[in-house]
């Protein structure tokens, strides 16, 4: 694997914005508005705010796919790749989703339990086959590898990382890679049962952090090989590169991170080695930063050890919420945009950083210099995944 993997288009949708430009304006403007869920109906004694995208028709059959379609259309438009080209080349679709869209099927299941007239084939296909990558590939009549990654909260990062491996190995010319997830009752209520959801707007790396806020959305990157760019004379389309990717497992606990962050340290070292970079060449790190006690403590400690305690860190789940399978993809896109803009967004509304986390976030938008950034994802099951993202020179 020696060839470059270029990013030629990005697209997204989240509570922070319905496209990349809107999202970055929201982040740089310091606006965030987690609210009581509107689309889900539930009975709980108290509410936990979420970053829910407004105006989504609840009748849409697969909202995650709907989000992925919106983000893909934006990314493809920016890349200048039309549907005809997608059908001519070896195109992979690698999509991350925390549950393969299973958790949004509660209503179907309820109908089935009431012996409603759902055909057996429909039940099995709709309920269990959460193959979002295939659904998206079908829309574009593309043929090539379709992979739906379910690596919990690292799914989006891993989808982009594995997509870059498909490009670098020559298996694909173009990969549509990213992640998507929607707010579903099961996820909302399940996270509350795990007691890591906050009743207040989340505060990553704060001394008074009390948990995460869930969110929803999609982030999509168009990844492309040098040969594909050359063939279509698309060099001017290049926004950046996936310079490095690594993932490894803690093998420590089902839900808790390994206290010393061994897995994250290894993943960071491997990703930077692959990129041929030293820590001093990383302009900033977009941290996983969920706002949960243990995640932020371990992650902060590792980032300070690896990059030094004056490392510039952003934690953008404060604006998007934790979008699970989409999170790593949205944050990869944010990282690239920050590199291109030379600026990372401030954390909103707080400055009581936890000294135990050992990293300090910017209280105002901060200028950055450099070519490369790291984006980290820590997930259920002890997964640690890292992308090294470069901007065009």
């Amino acid at each position: 694997m020696s060839t470059e993997c270029y990013i030629t288009g990005v697209g997204c949708i989240s509570k922070a914005g319905r496209n990349v430009s809107e999202m970055m304006s929201c982040l740089y403007g310091g606006h965030r508005s987690p609210e009581v869920p509107q689309r889900m109906i539930y009975k709980l004694p108290k509410h936990y705010p979420v970053f829910e995208i407004s105006g989504v028709d609840a009748a849409i059959d697969n909202i995650s796919l709907h989000f992925a379609e919106i983000a893909t259309a934006e990314a493809l438009k920016q890349s200048g790749i039309d549907e005809r080209l997608l059908q001519q080349k070896k195109v992979g679709f690698v999509l991350g989703s925390s549950s393969g869209c299973f958790f949004n099927k509660e209503e179907y299941y309820g109908q089935h339990r009431q012996a409603d007239a759902i055909s057996a084939e429909y039940f099995a296909d709709v309920l269990f086959k959460g193959n979002i990558a295939h659904h998206l590939a079908e829309k574009y009549a593309a043929h090539g590898m379709c992979l739906t990654i379910s690596n919990a909260c690292a799914s989006g990062t891993d989808a982009i990382g594995l997509g870059s491996q498909l490009i670098k190995s020559g298996e694909c010319d173009i990969v549509i890679a990213g992640g998507c997830d929607e707010l579903a009752r099961m996820v909302y209520l399940g996270f509350i049962s795990l007691m890591n959801t906050s009743e207040y707007p989340c505060k990553p790396f704060s001394a008074t952090r009390s948990g995460l806020n869930l969110g929803e959305g999609a982030g999509i990157c168009v990844l492309e090989s040098a040969a594909s760019l050359e063939q279509r004379h698309g060099r001017e389309r290049v926004l950046g590169t996936i310079a490095g990717y690594a993932t490894c497992c803690d093998s420590y606990h089902v839900t808790a991170p390994e206290p010393d962050g061994r897995g994250l340290r290894t993943a960071l070292a491997s990703a930077m080695q692959q990129a041929g970079l030293t820590p001093s060449e990383i302009a900033f790190v977009n941290a996983h930063g969920t706002g949960t006690t243990e995640n932020d403590k371990v992650e902060g400690k590792v980032l300070a050890d690896v990059f030094g305690s004056d490392v510039v860190v952003s934690a953008t789940k404060a604006y998007t919420g934790h979008t699970l399978g989409a999170a790593g993809a949205l944050e990869a896109i944010i990282s690239l945009q920050c590199l291109l803009n030379g600026q990372i967004p401030a954390v909103p509304d707080y400055d009581d950083f936890d000294p135990e986390c050992r990293v300090t976030l910017a209280c105002s938008n901060r200028r950055i210099e450099g070519q490369y950034a790291c984006s980290t994802s820590l997930a259920f099951g002890g997964i640690n995944s890292v992308l090294v993202i470069g901007k065009t020179k």
């Binding site: 925390s98 269990f128 491996q165 093998s251 089902v254």
Partner: protein, 315 residues
């Protein structure tokens, strides 16, 4: 692409690799004599040294994956802690029993009564997580679902990891669990649909680079074609839907990820030089000797527009 196969672990209604190897020594296998249970029985041998507390926390889905990986590791004699090992787990349906149980808890007991254990067990990558915990694996870990493409995609990603030098070995597991709800659907809707599973199982291969010096089961070559390649004598159709010829479905029961079992059975058959062929009426399999031939199987891609081919050979 090609991989070397160093170990196989099977959890199935037919039993483990050892019991299947015994079956292949018979001259005929009567379908009526095979286990009729849809679910596999799961007992962790003490020599796997997996803590009882960890096993108790696993769902049935995770237990299938971990037990099958345990068998494969014993078979391969791979020391996971001494080598760079990755995990790739694939399933068409995922942990459906845990997922449906979580739905049941919400519907039956209320929105504030979902158990955190049930919820965390319903997360798709729970099986790979328990596998990493059971065997102390700290390498890359991937859980993916891709319908009929699941096995092919898992092999492709394993090949990329091995070729790029990320790892030396991959524990590659593919399987599906049977849920009681499949029986309920059939009872409720009066359907005898062939698109519903009748069984379950998990297959794990320990794979390394194709140029590995030692390989217990030879090489596995895999490719896809947009055209169906005519069947040869030693090729089976491994389609999930029996209408298209799931030739070993009667042996193992039908489930979407069953092609992984079929590939493992081919690897075993090639090693033992014993190959089971289905009779015309489907009531039995006659097992005959081979003469060193390569064996292959074919299954339909999820898109419906391509076919995957898996070929097992000595080198």
């Amino acid at each position: 692409m090609k991989l070397a196969v160093n170990g196989i672990g099977i959890v199935s209604t037919l039993g483990t690799v050892d019991s299947i190897a015994e079956l292949l020594q018979q001259s005929q296998i009567s379908v009526a004599s095979l286990a009729s249970s849809a679910k596999v029985s799961l007992n962790f041998p003490s020599e796997m040294n997996i803590p009882g507390g960890l096993v108790r926390r696993m769902s049935h889905f995770a237990k299938m994956a971990v037990l099958s990986a345990g068998y494969a590791l014993v078979d391969s004699e791979l020391d996971c802690r001494a080598k760079r090992v990755g995990i790739i787990e694939g399933s068409v349906y995922g942990p459906i029993t845990s997922g449906l149980k979580a739905f049941d808890e919400l519907i039956d007991f209320g929105d504030d009564k979902i158990s955190p254990t049930t919820f965390s067990g319903s997360v798709f990558n729970a099986a790979a997580t328990y596998l990493s915990l059971a065997f102390g694996i700290q390498g890359p870990i991937l859980t993916q679902t891709a319908g009929a493409d699941t096995l092919y995609n898992s092999l492709t990603m394993a090949s990329l990891w091995l070729e790029s030098g990320m790892v030396d070995y991959v524990i590659l597991g593919v399987g599906d669990e049977f849920a009681d709800y499949f029986s309920d659907i059939t009872a409720t809707n009066g359907s005898n649909s062939k698109s519903l599973p009748t069984s379950e199982g998990w297959t794990t291969l320990i794979v390394s680079r194709a140029d590995a010096e030692k390989t217990a089961y030879g090489q596995l070559e895999f490719d896809y074609s947009e055209q169906f390649v005519a069947q040869t004598e030693n090729q089976i159709n491994s389609f999930w839907n029996e209408d298209f010829g799931g030739e070993w479905n009667s042996l193992r029961g039908a489930y979407p990820a069953g092609v992984a079992f079929d590939v493992a059975l081919l690897l075993l058959a090639r090693k033992l030089q014993r190959f089971p062929r289905q009779s015309a009426d489907g009531s039995e399999y006659s097992v005959s000797d081979l003469n060193g031939e390569a064996l292959s199987c074919c299954n339909h891609a999820e898109s419906g527009k391509a076919f995957f081919y898996y070929r097992c050979s000595a080198r």
